[in-house]
């Protein structure tokens, strides 16, 4: 399987062992993002990194797991309820009572995170999956309003199909 190294900038402590072991200089860049053109996927940097900041990722990911129709439909009901919760919390986040406003702000964020996680398990896990690309295509064909960012959706479809 073809692999490439990727670096988590949040974990990288700039100890620089990866710079010493990389045979191609791919890990030494001005923006700290490993140069995918130069990386041969040898994995030396990931093994040497004392901070566990480098992961080896397959260039092509496996297909997304199949999802059961019943699971999707139940999870979508939950998804709708969570985003309704988010909408209510959004309204309350500008309440005159600052304590309620703050609690509501937290609930708005919490509901979005939960909704995203449920969406992921309801079949939208991988950005480059057939389902995600299919959803984008469907929206390009039937844009909900004239303001739909069609050009961005098309650019996204092209990029995802390359992955």
């Amino acid at each position: 399987m073809e692999m490439k190294a990727v670096r988590n900038l949040r974990l990288c402590t700039k100890d620089c062992l990866c710079l010493y072991v990389c045979p191609t200089g791919a890990s030494d860049t001005e923006d700290s993002v490993i140069d995918a053109q130069k990386c041969t996927g040898c994995g030396a940097c990931a093994g040497a990194c004392p901070s566990g900041a480098i992961s080896m990722m397959p260039v092509r990911l496996p297909l997304q797991q199949e999802k059961d129709a019943e699971v999707i439909s139940r999870m979508n009901v939950l998804l709708e309820s969570l985003v309704r919760r988010e909408a209510m919390a959004d309204k309350l986040s500008s309440d005159a009572d600052p304590v309620l406003a703050k609690v509501a702000q937290a609930i708005r964020r919490s509901s979005r995170l939960s909704a995203e996680d449920i969406a992921r398990e309801a079949g939208y896990m991988l950005p480059q999956s057939a389902r995600a690309i299919g959803l984008l295509k469907e929206l390009v064909d039937n844009p909900p309003t004239k303001d739909f960012p069609k050009a961005s959706a098309l650019a996204l479809i092209r990029a995802l199909e390359e992955m």
Binding site: K67, D68, L82
Partner: protein, 207 residues
Amino acid sequence: MTYICSICGYVYDEEAAGIPFAALPEDWTCPRCGAEKAMFDPDGKEEAPAKAEAGGQVQTPVQLSPRALSAIFSNLARGAQKQYHPQEEALFMEISDYFLSLSPAEECNAGDLHSLVSSDLAGIYQECEEAAVKAADRGALRARLWSQKVSRIVESVLSRYEREGGRLLEGKNVYVCSVCGFVFTGTQAPEICPVCKVPAWKFDMIS
């Protein structure tokens, strides 16, 4: 089906060789670099060439609300971010924001929000669990469990707000786990998220 040497990239083609890869002796090695049999990976591209196969028929999104679509796309943006694809992340976020702008505002008070959370806890989580158990979908079970626990904490924070009002946050801050959405009131974020077990630095303070 083909298998690829993870060391040197040598391709073992079952058809051309006439012997299934699995039938090769365990001490068989890569003819090019000598790597062990276990170092070979099945070539996923050959195994499943049609991307469209995953998930089969694509479901129409029309029955989803704009805000649900916004959450689907912000989730896909996170997926792109985790894979270090900032451009794709930004494009997904643009579409997510577009759907958020289409989402109607909800007129409500704190009691309405509390009732909605309580009614979810009384029904839909159970239904999700049943469907996920039946399909042996542990990913769905995991997400449903986290969301249910987070809903319980949200419900309890709302109950406490009803009882204590402004005193709820006296000398305290509100923190949200950026992974699972766990809500915490206190003087500092918990060392470990009680729901998803991530460390304190994964919590955001609401300001």
